[in-house]
Amino acid sequence: MHELSLIANLFEIMEEKAAEKNAKKITHVVLQVGKLAGVVPELLITAFDMYKKDTIASEGNLEIKEVPLKILCRDCKTEVVKDDFVFICAKCGSSNLKTLAGMELYLEKMELEVD
């Protein structure tokens, strides 16, 4: 359950950005979570709801955008969205692959209330 430490990091970033914009409230938060980010989206939401009390986001909600695992074969240049974690190109058998997406754990955007 490292989701709570990640949510603590999220709040640090949120509070810093909200202060820059002189926001009064954070009403909506969008997170990008890669398939290989190693977190459970439901637990992130539970942790967010626990953590938000008495913060600027006390009435805010967390939306999770799941990002599929996408790899590129450096040899045959095929780009594939993977459902499994087999890092071998299905087309040419190469293991010379690059992960293009799927590792994300990003605060994408927030909705703020400002004066």
């Binding site: 009064k24 009403t27 190693g38 071998i88 605060l107 909705e111 703020l112 209330e113 004066d115």
Partner: protein, 230 residues
């Protein structure tokens, strides 16, 4: 006067910031400083009870006195693992997380002033857990994941992140292979499917098999960072 809600405006701001960014920043600083001192840092990761501490005890017998090593022990509670390492004459520092399931770079950063500059190897034994530690870079040069025979050969596919982010897989307790249904070749094959660059090693701290090869892999990696420094 009634509160005038219409005065408030809603505004959307794009941020795109990594939740692990602050950890990564500290980890990069640790890696840079330790590598510049010619110290190879190894993050040992596994489920509880796969034999991380025992493996360190066995490694210490091969690496010392020629090489100097030290160990950072991560556990939820107790100094037991650090005491075992100290009993071997190896400096060890215990981090007790008091409940947290993984180590973070800032915890290693706090110990930084204690780390002797003339070390060769700094081992970090992470909290026993095959899930959470995989997300936190500690500033290591090598991430080494252990999988012991009693855990079962299906773990690489079930816990992919630990295996994808590691440089080296050690299949430990191989002395138990004859009595348990663990297929070493299957585990190796599946681990390589999810991470084709993984260095594969097998060890038994009981018989001593494979410990020398693992020590040699760390010595070669140490020489590699020192050549790059030179």
């Amino acid at each position: 006067m009634p509160h005038n809600k219409t005065k408030m405006k809603t505004k959307e701001v794009m941020v795109l910031e990594d939740l692990l960014g602050s950890n990564k920043k500290i980890a990069d600083q640790i890696r840079k400083k330790l590598t510049a001192k010619g110290i190879l840092t190894i993050n040992l990761l596994s489920s509880p009870g796969s034999g991380k501490t025992t493996l360190l005890e066995s490694l210490s017998e091969i690496l010392t006195p020629e090489y100097k090593m030290a160990v950072i022990e991560g556990d939820i509670e107790t100094e037991r693992d650090a005491d075992r390492i100290r009993a071997k004459g190896i400096p060890a520092w215990q981090i007790t997380t008091g409940g947290a399931c993984h180590l973070e770079a800032k915890m290693i950063g706090k110990l930084f002033p204690k780390i002797p500059a003339d070390l060769d190897f700094l081992f970090i034994e992470n909290v026993g857990n095959l899930v959470c530690p995989a997300s936190f870079d500690l500033g290591e040069n090598i991430r080494c994941v252990l999988l012991s025979i009693p855990e079962g050969d299906d773990k690489p596919k079930k816990y992919p992140k630990a295996f994808i982010t590691s440089h080296c897989l050690v299949i430990s307790k191989t002395d138990l292979a004859p009595v348990l249904p663990f297929n070493i070749e299957k585990a190796k094959k599946e681990a390589l499917e999810i991470n084709p660059n993984l260095k594969l090693l097998t060890t038994s701290a009981q018989s001593g098999a494979g410990i020398k090869e693992l020590a040699e892999y760390f010595i070669e990696s140490l020489q590699k960072i020192r050549r790059t420094n030179a």
